[in-house]
Amino acid sequence: MAGKSGRTIAHTQNKSLLKRLMCWESMLVILFIIVNIYCSSLSSTYQINNVLREMPKYLTEVFLLLPMAYILVMGDIDISVGSIVCLSATVACILGNKGLPFGLVLLVGLLTGALCGLINGIIVTKFTELPPMIVTLGTQILFRGIAEIALGSGGSISLEHAEGFRMLAGRVGRIPYILFLVLILAVIYIIILSKTTFGRKLYAIGSNKLAAYYAGVKVQKIRLIVFTLTGLMAGLSALFLTALQYGVNTTTASGFEMNAISMAVFGGISTAGGKGRLQGGVIAAFIIISLRVGLGQINLNPQVILIILGALLILAVMAPNIVEQFKLMKKRSSVK
């Protein structure tokens, strides 16, 4: 069947380089540079060595950002990840202290996370009418509760056989292992989201779950996979966190879920689903890390840092709206 009217439809896009560069990610890169210049001007100790030394504890949150971006793109949310980190860390710590081979400890740590993620996934996919926010709020409390029981009356466990974990916290020259791992994983996660059919389906689910389902996308299976993957990544985060903190306590990783979500949202990923790119999320993560390290160098009160980060996040979310309003105003005035 050929077109009857002979009309042709364009299938290529000619975007000028300038237009391509005019995106949120470019803004973030510029912001990243500004933040770093600002931090260096604040304190003479904001140097690459110090940054690399301070960075690892914040990088553990980036492990959570990566799958969280997928979850948000699907229009879902998982606020139990912080508790999963805590529970996985607790399990790994206890097993490590029992003298199990380190390989096995790693494996069980990861599997604990994956299992928690799987539980979330099963609940949200079998009972689709339950909002993921509420389900994971429940499991957030549940997982941390289990961790707290395991941690006992002291509320914390210190590593006794720390050799293996110390290895995790090691570095090549000055660069910590975790930075390598974060960057490699970030690249993989970005490529999967932007270039593969799996990524396209995530966007389809987040844009219109029903239409995606009618188009043959296995919506619930994909959601189950992503929630489980999120748990697995939380397990990974837990192992590094344990290594960095030489132990675990009841408040380990509390608030991580919100930090991961903030990074994603700051990076332009919409919590309504279907919009945004992980590139932005990763750059945003590094902006936040730079700020935290930088402001930490001048011994700024941690609460003040929180206020600054919060304000920044709100500004970042507002920015696109302000631009829209501005465009609208311009349009209106030109009509008059």
Partner: protein
């Protein structure tokens, strides 16, 4: 003084691309019950909305008791004493009956609601209607019939002289309908004039003095109910030479492609069986709510039937979700293209290729170049009025969106094509083009199931017509041996019993 309380002359209403009303006239006598009938999409609802001031007609005049009126908004019509009661009452379920009745015109004193007075007035109104519930009941706890009664009370509370009932009995049981008849009769006794829309002939015979028929946005005629027959009415509603408008090709039918056996899903449909041969177009029809969409959704795995089997080329297939159906070549074009058919925020190209991205991908990576070329070819073949495959689906009109849905189906390997109301909300030009594509698909040997409520389309395009009523197949007729009257009879058969 005019004989008529309400008279409309040469009303024409134009929506972008469609003439929804074309020179329609209407006369309502004082104290009369007047039925308004016609097929889906004939323009009844639009006409009602013109009377109530929701829409403004481009042409035509409206007279209320001989005086020319011009309603700019719904409030104007309300103040003139015209009230409408819709099929699905738009009430506030958490508020009381009295609050619902007086919503928008509460009994006030110094800006404060006078609860006692308001409840008392509401009680008086309900007494008139013989209501069996209290004014302090919450609206949400009432049955649909009771809620309708509240809506009628609400109309009376505004001192309406003309009450319009839009499909009042559609959601009611037999007994509830009887109750409604009684109320309507009583309203008539009190001198209220009533216009009602209904698909049920029974309503019309029982209540109406006269009936006006609309068809294809045009006025067909007004008849006295005494002495009119079903056949006359149906002819007025659907009658016209229609076969020539449909490019139905003569296709030599091949082997059976799909067979559905004893399909049942509790509450939706029961014991549905039919088969479709290669090159055959089956028209699946019935009234809205007869279970047609539910049946095909179960065939395609959107929902699971409780029992029943699907055979494809003689072999039984298991379909658990839409992707299974697609793998087997059963392609559904869903009814609601905006919610089910398309991702409106996406470009057309991505929409078209979504079902097949995995097939074209290399090692899981999207082959964007190939996808775009394919999308371009398909969108051109269905003649979409789009400039680029990157245009967002939301920017297209209904007809063009439907063509994108068709292109999306064409992208896949098809054996069976199921189209659910393919021309719903589509203008005439695009309709013809969709029929054209349907015909060509049949010629290429695909088995086609078309769900439709539009009689001309059913008679024009189908080889065989499967009629459903209340979840059951009530008849399977060849096109040659059937008439519109026969189909309507079968479609309404059991809803009256």
């Amino acid at each position: 003084m005019s004989d008529y309380i309400l008279e409309l002359k040469d009303i024409t209403k134009i929506f972008p691309g469609v003439k929804a009303l074309d020179g329609v006239k209407f006369q309502l006598k004082k104290g009369e019950i007047h039925a308004l009938m016609g097929e889906n999409g004939a323009g009844k609802s639009t006409f009602i909305k013109v009377i109530t001031g929701v829409h403004r007609a481009e042409e035509g005049e409206m007279f209320l008791e001989g005086e020319k009126v011009n309603f700019k908004k719904t409030k104007d019509a309300q103040e003139a004493g015209i009230a409408a009661v819709y099929q699905h009452p738009t009430s506030y379920p958490d508020l009381t009956v009295a609050e619902n009745i007086f919503k928008g015109h509460e009994v006030l004193k110094f800006g404060m609601i006078q609860w006692k007075e308001m409840n008392r007035q509401a009680e008086t109104l309900l007494e008139q209607l013989n209501a069996d519930f209290k004014v302090t009941d919450e609206m949400g706890t009432l049955s649909v019939a009771q809620q309708q009664m509240v809506e009628i009370a609400k109309a009376l509370s505004t001192n309406a002289r003309i009450i319009i009932l839009d499909e009042p009995t559609a959601a009611l049981t037999k007994n509830e309908s009887e109750e409604l008849y009684r109320i309507v009769d009583k309203l008539k006794e009190n001198g209220v004039s009533i216009i009602f829309i209904s698909h049920r002939f029974e309503d019309m015979y029982r209540l109406a003095d006269r009936v006006t028929v609309l068809r294809d946005s045009q006025y067909i005629g007004t008849y006295d109910v005494d002495g009119i027959t079903n056949a006359d009415l149906i002819k007025a509603m659907v009658g016209r030479e229609i076969k020539d408008l449909f490019p139905k090709p003569e296709v030599k039918l091949g082997e059976e492609v799909i067979r559905v056996e004893n399909f049942s899903r509790t509450g939706y449909f029961k014991d549905v069986s039919f088969k479709v041969r290669a090159g055959e177009i089956i028209g699946l029809t019935g009234l809205v709510g007869a279970g047609r969409t539910e049946v095909v959704e179960s065939i395609c795995g959107v929902t699971r039937p409780d029992s029943g089997k699907v055979f494809l080329n003689g072999k039984e297939v298991t379909i658990k979700e839409p992707s299974d159906a697609m793998k087997n070549g059963i392609i559904l074009l869903p009814e609601d293209r905006q919610k089910q058919g398309l991702i409106l925020s996406w470009g057309l190209g991505d929409n078209v290729t979504l079902p097949i991205i995995s097939k074209y991908a290399k090692g899981g990576f999207n082959d964007t170049k190939k996808e775009r070329e394919l999308a371009k070819d398909l969108l051109e073949s269905v003649d979409t009025k789009a400039v680029s495959i990157f245009d967002k689906a939301s920017t297209l009109s209904g007809g063009n969106q439907q063509k994108v849905v068709v292109a999306k189906a064409l992208a896949q390997e098809m054996k069976v094509v199921i189209m659910d109301e393919p021309t719903k909300g589509v203008d005439v030009g695009a309709k013809a083009e969709i029929y054209q594509i349907m015909g060509e698909l049949a010629k290429e040997g695909y088995a086609i199931i078309m769900i439709s409520s539009e009689m001309p389309e059913i008679l024009g395009m189908s080889d065989r017509i499967v009629i459903m009523c209340n979840g059951r197949v009530t008849g399977q007729l060849d096109r040659q041996e059937t008439t519109q009257e026969r189909i309507l009879e079968l479609a309404m058969e059991k809803s009256e019993k």
